[in-house]
Subunit: 331 residues, 2 copies
Amino acid sequence: MQDVARAARVSQTAVSFVLNARADANIPQETRARIWAAVARLGYRPNAMARALRQGNSSLLGFVTDEIATTPFAGMIVRGAQDVAWQHRHILALVNTDHQSDLEQEAIGTLLQHQVGAIVLVAMAHKEVVVPPLLDGFPVVLVNAYSRDERVSAVLPDEVRGGHDAVAHLIAFGHRRIGVIDNLATSVAAPLRLQGHRQAMQEAGLEADPAWVVHVDGWQEAGFDGAMQLLHRPQRPTALFCLNDRAAMGAYAAAQSLGLRVPEDLSIIGFDNQEMISAHLRPMLTTMQLPHYEMGRWGVQALLSGKPLPGGRTLLPCPLVARHSVARPAD
Amino acid sequence: MQDVARAARVSQTAVSFVLNARADANIPQETRARIWAAVARLGYRPNAMARALRQGNSSLLGFVTDEIATTPFAGMIVRGAQDVAWQHRHILALVNTDHQSDLEQEAIGTLLQHQVGAIVLVAMAHKEVVVPPLLDGFPVVLVNAYSRDERVSAVLPDEVRGGHDAVAHLIAFGHRRIGVIDNLATSVAAPLRLQGHRQAMQEAGLEADPAWVVHVDGWQEAGFDGAMQLLHRPQRPTALFCLNDRAAMGAYAAAQSLGLRVPEDLSIIGFDNQEMISAHLRPMLTTMQLPHYEMGRWGVQALLSGKPLPGGRTLLPCPLVARHSVARPAD
């Protein structure tokens, strides 16, 4: 603890307060971050942490998310995790870090002091994360996230296969001119879903012309704009693959404004199965289900099964939810 | 423990397994329920529970919900609770009981054994609940729920005031013929929102004619049907108050199918501010915000503030979110 205090240029009392999560200590955010950085750098383990690491038989399971409120997806991951945890009579100890990495470190420290037996790190949008060094050697699973070095077990949606299956579904209905609306900008999911699109086109002997893929930035409005761009071409597409359901909602509005009926004049397929949208558009949207519930289950099951963690990435399928927005093309 | 075993007609070993949340004990659901019922009836406190009750200084906070995944509202309550909990450096220990009361009892028992310092009981839809006798004398707050005997502190949305303010907003714009679509069936929120409607009409010297209130059962489709009923009357309403945003979404579709423009020909106001809908309808929906985040905050703050719990019900406002679906009537 002396070493940590020296490295962080603070008093031992401050280190002790931070490591013991004293809320009343009133230590600035910046100082707390410096202390946790020193803890990580020096590989220091306070007693409670060391105990938790030795024991590993706690029935508390740390559940650290970067976000909790903006989409119903969060709820599905929590629910999947909770269902399996409770089968094993474990309780989830939940922390939402709101995308702040210094908060994440502090939260993880606090969870370790509560002697959680293992930790699930959850991202709400599929992405790359850095696992805090504090967790070296501790049982951890990443859900909807992966670390570059692949040392930590991760469970992820099979985005490539999902993109492939969406486009193969359109092709099976007889579509050849398929427009793609990519509204996901910097998401790691977008290039994977697009890779699936290219695979499906190539398998069917069709050209995956990049000119048929429009890139727009935003949600429903972006979907509307992207669809308008594609539908104003001389040879208009008979089907649209939208990289998420919110873009598909915008595409419905574009079709309507042009007097095109879905699916008679234009087939539309989405991605995510965001039910608040997909089940309530008219006609109901055909889309790909993201496996949030299943990833939550998988993560906790891997930690509590008693078997060694598998390591690397495990991909779970994104099954097709066939509703009413896809039909044979008219021409 | 002997008494519990006798009352529940099981062995002491079974009682011990259940109270200690042994996942591998393989005791049938029905038997576990009987044991917890006996525990509650006899007022028995296992050692760990007694310890937790004495200590009360744990930095774990039990968070028991009846549902977690179906609406983004769940996320907002969790987020509000978590934000305040973390300010106090407390961690939420989360259990989702999926509306099963025997599971709830067992979950609460397990939380007590984990020495949570207090418990928040959360309902996703505003409703009456029975607080398990196991929690007699333990620090508990109800969020979005209340118990009939009013002994337990509860925080709730001010539904009456919200209904009042929604209708008063329409009246302020000059509307006199206001239709109401109630699609909430057995919800406790519906009669309160309707009471607010009557208050606002009476304050403005208008008659709150029950014939202008249609009761339909369901979501978007019900909203569509209800709006069609009201809009086909000889004297059609110039504005609709929909008891939730999903009904409002259906009312938009009804207006469109009749060639009525929102808001020029028909003003529409919703309730809930379910943003996935309200912010993405065109025009964007004017609606009342449910205070889920604020209720989550309030609940945890009440438990961790160090002050005595206030008891009874605390009502939090449902503020108006004025977007673009309300305008002056044409006639």
